[in-house]
Amino acid sequence: MRTRVLVVDDDPALAEMLGIVLRSEGFTPSFVADGERALSAFRESRPDVVLLDLMLPGMSGIDVCRAIRAESAVPIVMLTARGDTGDVVHGLESGADDYVVKPFKPKELVARMRARLRRSEDEVAEQLTLGPAEAPVVIDVPGHTVTRDGRPIALTPLEFDLLVQLARKPRQVFTREVLLEQVWGYRHAADTRLVNVHVQRLRAKVERDPEHPEVVLTVRGVGYKAGTA
């Protein structure tokens, strides 16, 4: 089955060009040009991945992102004209998994989408435990579920991947660059804010007190590591 992509962009020429590129790469794109209709289009087309322009007429890209994230864990890749302003951090905080800065190359875009679509195919029953001994966070890797005290914690696939990456080597300190490579699939140095923002989002969900993390620890000046009992 071909991968369905929802392109939310108001520029018709860019949307059409994206369509050409995506079709040639074997995706099935559908399009919506404004923010108001983005959510209904999303519900209709049930895409596997969303390409979302941040600057949209009607509802802003940030709001669309938040609305989609509220009802789905679908991978969202933002298209943004400005890579260094608060927009990117805003977009990531409102639930986007990754972003590409205009103008991007087709290969770059496709690589970002593929990285988000790539699912781990371990069928081996693997269970990982981390966090404090009295209230551990339990990860069922093949089942894609995370629980604490039996209660499930809803994570997006990206957050899940990030947590599993850290949990599999609990003694290792991961630099942001290594995480970018292994979780996001970047081969060259990329924006480390991706890691920062997603670690914060992850902490907000798995930590008892995000101000004093016990599950995902910061190693100052180096990166992050899993907190183990």
Binding site: D11, M17, L18, I20, V21, A81, R82, F104, P106, G221
Partner: protein
């Protein structure tokens, strides 16, 4: 000990320098003090002189009367051998003394020139204490002159006090005598003292009063001035709404009005500038978005054409290739222009976090290595053993490093390139050294100029935009750091990036020298600061 003693002195000096009111009050106090003192001294002198003069006039009259009486009494005798002489002397002395009354306002001494006869003293005088000044004795007894003199004496055995001594010669057929009147100036002295004390007290009160008035008056002036100073401080702290209260129509009200006008003008101009800056920001952001969206479409289209170029005939293929490379160049130029305009508009934001600079250097070197290999330059990296962690904006520092390394490769003539990272307690430094053509001493400033090219005639190898070093310089400044260049024709160039470990601290020195050790006397070096 010394400093502890000096501390209050220093405090007083600071208060003196800082308070106009204190200075005015102190000056008034000093000036009015001097004036009142002078006036007081003159006044006391005049009053005392007046008192003493009045006393002398009456005393002289008394003495002349006594002199006449004594002369009459003694003239009546029959020469110096008169048996009555001794008795007459006593009766004259006694009678003259009696005139002084019970209050003993004066004492009388009658001294015969004939030393065989004893002097006659008023009853209340103590003989041994009566000490007629020798000067007066000589003039009265020897020269037969009526004379007086002021002296200090205690003729009645009491305390020593000012005394007017009047001497009158009494020359008769019965012989020569000297009649002395001793007038104690008790009443005059106490009156003078009273006047003195009254004047002193009045003077002090007057001076204090004047000082208080001065304080009050200066306060009236200083208070609005202080209010103006406070308002100015608040204005400069950014509270542009701050104004002074205008009361009445006097000069101070005019000061307040002018001040408020100035504040209003300033506020208007600042708001205008802020609007301009906001407009510029909006414009940059809009241009960015508006240009980037079509550029993305062009970029995607160019890529589609480029990947299909093998199916085209040679002309079209070449066109597709050119389109591809020029879109690349256009893109990096646009990126750099937008970055520069972001700095010009003043809204570049530092996103500092703790980062391992060694790792950043490694990444940048890895990034540039393919280019260096193509150019034939060996990249030699010297890093400290331990991690060098500083609060920096990774994206910006990475960009600076890639820029410096790119330049070194482009201008390095295929010779080795050295990259050194070092740190001290306050700063980290990274130097990038090439051994290419270098540049002249005067050019170390202008290498940072926008669109400056080392040698315009040289063919460009890498697609630099000419803005890289300008942006890098701004990146360094945003960190509170330095980006400096050294160069010498034939020896190559070295760029040094120095960043404070804590971006809120000021840099004072760099852990690495700007001029490389193999580069001769540093005086020749062209050095520029950022």
């Amino acid at each position: 000990m010394r400093t502890r003693l000096l501390a209050p002195v220093r405090g007083a000096r600071r208060a003196w320098r800082r308070s106009l009111q204190l200075r005015v009050v102190a000056t008034t106090l000093a000036a009015s003090g001097v004036v009142v003192l002078c006036l007081g001294v003159v006044l006391v002198h005049r009053i005392t002189d007046g008192l003493v003069d009045a006393k002398r006039v009456s005393a002289v009259y008394e003495a002349e009367t006594g002199q006449t009486y004594a002369r009459q009494q003694l003239q009546a005798l029959r020469g110096p051998q008169d048996a009555e002489l001794q008795r007459t002397l006593y009766s004259v002395g006694g009678n003259l003394s009696d005139r002084a009354g019970r209050a003993a306002q004066f004492g009388v001494v009658l001294v015969p020139a004939d030393r065989a006869l004893p002097p006659v003293y008023s009853g209340h005088l103590v003989r041994s204490d009566v000490d007629i000044p020798a000067d007066l004795t000589r003039r009265v007894a020897d020269d037969n002159v009526f004379a007086y003199q002021y002296t200090q004496m205690a003729p009645d055995g009491g305390r020593t006090r000012a005394t007017l001594v009047i001497g009158a010669p009494v020359v008769t057929t019965a012989g020569s005598f000297a009649l002395y009147y001793l007038f104690p100036l008790d009443a005059e002295a106490s009156t003078a003292r009273l006047v003195q004390n009254t004047l002193l007290a009045t003077g002090i009160v007057l001076v204090l009063l004047v000082a208080a008035v001065a304080a009050l008056v200066t306060r009236q002036v200083v208070t609005p001035v202080r209010a103006a100073a406070r308002t100015a401080e608040r204005l400069s702290a950014g509270l542009l709404q701050e104004r002074m209260r205008v009361v009445g129509e006097d000069d101070l009200a005019r000061l307040a009005t002018s001040f408020n006008q100035m504040a209003a003008n300033l506020q208007r101009q600042i708001v205008q500038l802020e609007d301009l800056s906001r407009l510029q920001r909006r414009f940059t952001s809009d241009v960015s978005h508006e240009l980037r969206t079509p550029l993305t479409t062009v970029r995607l289209a160019a890529d589609v054409l480029y990947s299909a170029r093998d199916e085209f005939d040679p002309h079209l293929r070449r066109a597709a290739e050119l389109l591809q490379t020029e879109v690349d160049r256009f893109e990096s130029l646009l990126t750099d222009l937008l970055e520069i305009s972001r700095y010009d508009a003043g809204f570049a934001v530092l996103e500092a976090e703790a980062a391992d600079l060694g790792e950043l250097v490694r990444q940048s070197v890895d990034f540039i290595r393919p280019l260096a290999e193509r150019a034939g330059s060996d990249l030699r990296v010297t890093l400290p053993d331990e991690a060098v962690v500083a609060e920096v904006d990774r994206r910006r520092v990475g960009r600076v490093l890639r820029n410096l390394l790119g330049n070194a490769v482009e201008h390095g003539e295929g010779r080795p390139i050295d990259v050194v990272l070092a740190r001290d307690a306050h700063a980290v430094a990274i130097t990038v050294r090439d051994r290419g053509v270098g540049f002249r001493a005067g050019e170390s400033q202008i290498v940072f100029n926008r669109f400056w090219r080392a040698d315009p005639s040289r063919a460009r190898q890498t697609g630099g935009t000419g803005l890289g070093l300008s942006i890098s310089l701004e990146d360094a400044r945003l960190h509170g750091g330095w980006l400096q260049a050294w160069g010498e024709p034939g020896l190559g160039a070295q760029f040094r990036l120095t960043l404070p470990i804590d971006p809120t601290k000021r840099l004072t020195a760099s852990p690495l020298p700007l001029v490389p050790a193999d580069a001769g006397p540093p005086a020749l070096a062209g050095v520029t600061g950022a």
